[in-house]
C-alpha cells in the first residue's frame, strides 16, 4: 500500500506551510536578531527571553493561548474580525501565525550568533569606506553571515514540518487546510492504519536525517558561535 490522496494532501500542505513560515521568519527574524546582537538596551534581556520562550513552553500552552486569543472573543480575534479576515483558528493563516511564533527561536538564535560573531569591526571598516548601513548589511554582513542564514532557514523549516501540539489545539483537523503530516500520522495510528502511518513516519525519519546531515555538512558546527 502506498500513500493515498489525503496523505499527499498533507505532505503538500506541510511543505507549503514550512516554506511560507521560513520566508516570513527570515524577514521578521533578521531585524530582531540584528537588534539582539548589537543593542545595548536594557530591554535586550526581556526580548531575548520572549524570543526563546517557544523553546521551553509546552506546545499545549501556546495552542491554548492562541485558541483563546485568536478566537472571536480574544483580542487578536476581535482585530482580525474588524479587518474582515474572520478568525484564525481552523484556517491555514492561523497555522502560519502559530508556526511563526513556534519556530521563531530556531531562526533568530542562529542569526544572532552569526551577527555577534561578525562583530562591529567589519561594519566600522565599511563605514570608513562610506558604505551606508543598508549597503553594509547587504554587501558585508549577509555574505559573512551566510552559514547563519543557512542554519536558520534549515532549522526553521524543519521545525515547522515537525509541529504537532499547536496544530492539534488550533487546527481542527481539516483536510488540505490544517491537516499536516504529523496530524495525519496521528490520525492513522489512532484508527489502526499502521501501514500508512509507517510510510509517512519513515518519510519523516529520512527527511529529518537528511536535513541534519545537510546542516552538519554545510556548516561544521551549527550549534557553536562563529
Amino acid at each position: 500500500m502506498m500513500l493515498n490522496d489525503e496523505d499527499l494532501g498533507a505532505i503538500l500542505l506541510t511543505l507549503k506551510l514550512a516554506s511560507l513560515v521560513t520566508a516570513i521568519l527570515l524577514l521578521v527574524g533578521t531585524p530582531i536578531a540584528w537588534w539582539l546582537a548589537h543593542s545595548g538596551s536594557r530591554w535586550k534581556g526581556i526580548v531575548g527571553a520572549l524570543v526563546a520562550l517557544p523553546l521551553v513552553l509546552p506546545p499545549a500552552v501556546l495552542g491554548f493561548y492562541l485558541l483563546v486569543l485568536m478566537g472571536p472573543h480574544g483580542a487578536v480575534g476581535q482585530i482580525t474580525k474588524a479587518l474582515g479576515l474572520g478568525t484564525l483558528p481552523f484556517t491555514f493563516g492561523g497555522l502560519v501565525v502559530a508556526s511563526v511564533i513556534y519556530s521563531l527561536p530556531f531562526v533568530v538564535q542562529p542569526l544572532q550568533n552569526a551577527f555577534e560573531a561578525i562583530g562591529t569591526r567589519p561594519l566600522e571598516v565599511a563605514a570608513t569606506l562610506r558604505a551606508s548601513p543598508l549597503d553594509t548589511f547587504f554587501t558585508v554582513v549577509m555574505p559573512l553571515a551566510r552559514p547563519g542564514f543557512l542554519t536558520a532557514s534549515i532549522l526553521g523549516f524543519a521545525h515547522t514540518i515537525g509541529e504537532f501540539g499547536v496544530v492539534l489545539m488550533v487546527g481542527g483537523n481539516i483536510p488540505d487546510k490544517t491537516r499536516v503530516i504529523s496530524m495525519q500520522i496521528f490520525n492513522h495510528v489512532e484508527t489502526g492504519e499502521y501501514a500508512q502511518a509507517h510510510w509517512l513516519s519513515a518519510g519523516m525519519l529520512v527527511f529529518s536525517f537528511a536535513v541534519l546531515l545537510l546542516l552538519y555538512t554545510l556548516t561544521p558546527n551549527p550549534w557553536r558561535k562563529r
Binding site: P72, T87, P89, G172, E190, T191
Partner: protein
C-alpha cells in the same frame, strides 16, 4: 528513632493490608460520558473502597490502544460496535457486555438563540465553522455525519466542518466560540434537565441510528473483583439515576430489572 521504629512498622502493615483490599480499576471512558462517570466513580469508590482510574477519550482510539496492550480493565464505550469487536478479538470477556445508556446528539451553539429547535440553521450560511467529533474514531461524530447527510446539507457543510479528536474537543471548539456551532452529546450541555447555556436542538432520533452505549469487561480485568464490580455498578439504581439526569435514555431492561 528507635522508639519510632515499631510505630513505622505498624503503619506500614496497616498500609499494606489496605492496599491488598482496595483495588484500582483502570477504565477507558467514552468522552461523552465524562461528567456522569465522575459522579458514578465517586459513588462507587464510597460504596466499595475501590478507586477508579479513568481515562476519557474517543471510543475508537481506546479500541486501538486496547489492541496494543493498554492496561484498561473496563471499556465504557460510546457505541455497541466497539465492545463487540473486542469480544470477537478475544480482548473482552464474553457475557459481561450490556447497554448502560442510550446517547442523544445535540446541535449546540454557545450563542443564545443561534440554533433553532428544528436545526434549520444548518441550511443557512450564517456560520463559518461547524464542529464535530472525528467520525473515524468517535461514534457521536459518525452520527453527526449521518444527520447532515440525511438532511441533505452535507455537501454544503463539508468545507465548514472542523473535527475535534473526541467529542470533548468538539465541544471545546464551540464553547470557545471558534466554531459557531457543533454536534455534541446532550450530556455535555445539559443542566437541570435542559440545555444549560447557549442554544441547542436535540436532534430528532430518526435522523441517526440510536447511540446504544455498551460497557464491557476487558480481558485485563477478568480476574479483578473491583473491575467486575464496576461493570455491574453501572446498572444499579443510583448509577442509572445519575445517567438519566444527564439526559441519556435508559435501556429497556433498566425500567424492569435494575439491580440494587
Amino acid at each position: 528513632m528507635k522508639t519510632f521504629l515499631p510505630l513505622l512498622c505498624a503503619i506500614s502493615v496497616v498500609l499494606m493490608t489496605k492496599v491488598s483490599v482496595a483495588e484500582d480499576v483502570q477504565v477507558a471512558v467514552a468522552a461523552n460520558f465524562t461528567k456522569p462517570m465522575e459522579k458514578i466513580a465517586a459513588d462507587f469508590e464510597k460504596a466499595t473502597g475501590n478507586k477508579v482510574v479513568a481515562s476519557f477519550g474517543a471510543t475508537g482510539k481506546f479500541v486501538e490502544q486496547i489492541k496494543n496492550g493498554a492496561p484498561f480493565q473496563v471499556l465504557i464505550s460510546a457505541d455497541q460496535k466497539s465492545p463487540i469487536k473486542l469480544e470477537k478479538e478475544e480482548l473482552a470477556v464474553v457475557g459481561t457486555r450490556y447497554t448502560y445508556a442510550i446517547g442523544k446528539l445535540v446541535l449546540w451553539s454557545a450563542t443564545p438563540g443561534f440554533v433553532d429547535d428544528k436545526g434549520a440553521v444548518l441550511k443557512t450560511s450564517d456560520f463559518q465553522h461547524i464542529s464535530i467529533a472525528d467520525p473515524k474514531v468517535a461514534p457521536y461524530g459518525k452520527a453527526a455525519m449521518k444527520v447532515m447527510t440525511k438532511m441533505g446539507v452535507i455537501d454544503a457543510l463539508t468545507p465548514k466542518i472542523v473535527q475535534g479528536d473526541s467529542i470533548a474537543q468538539a465541544k471545546a471548539f464551540v464553547g470557545s466560540g471558534n466554531a459557531e456551532l457543533g454536534f455534541v452529546a446532550l450530556s455535555q450541555v445539559i443542566k437541570d434537565g435542559k440545555i444549560g447555556e447557549g442554544s441547542g436542538w436535540i436532534v430528532s432520533p430518526d435522523l441517526y441510528s440510536p447511540l446504544y452505549q455498551d460497557v464491557v469487561l476487558l480481558k485485563t480485568g477478568e480476574n479483578s473483583e473491583a473491575a467486575r464490580a464496576l461493570v455491574e455498578y453501572l446498572r444499579t439504581e443510583p448509577a442509572q439515576a445519575i445517567i438519566k439526569s444527564y439526559g441519556y435514555e435508559l435501556p429497556k431492561w433498566a425500567t424492569t430489572d435494575a439491580k440494587e
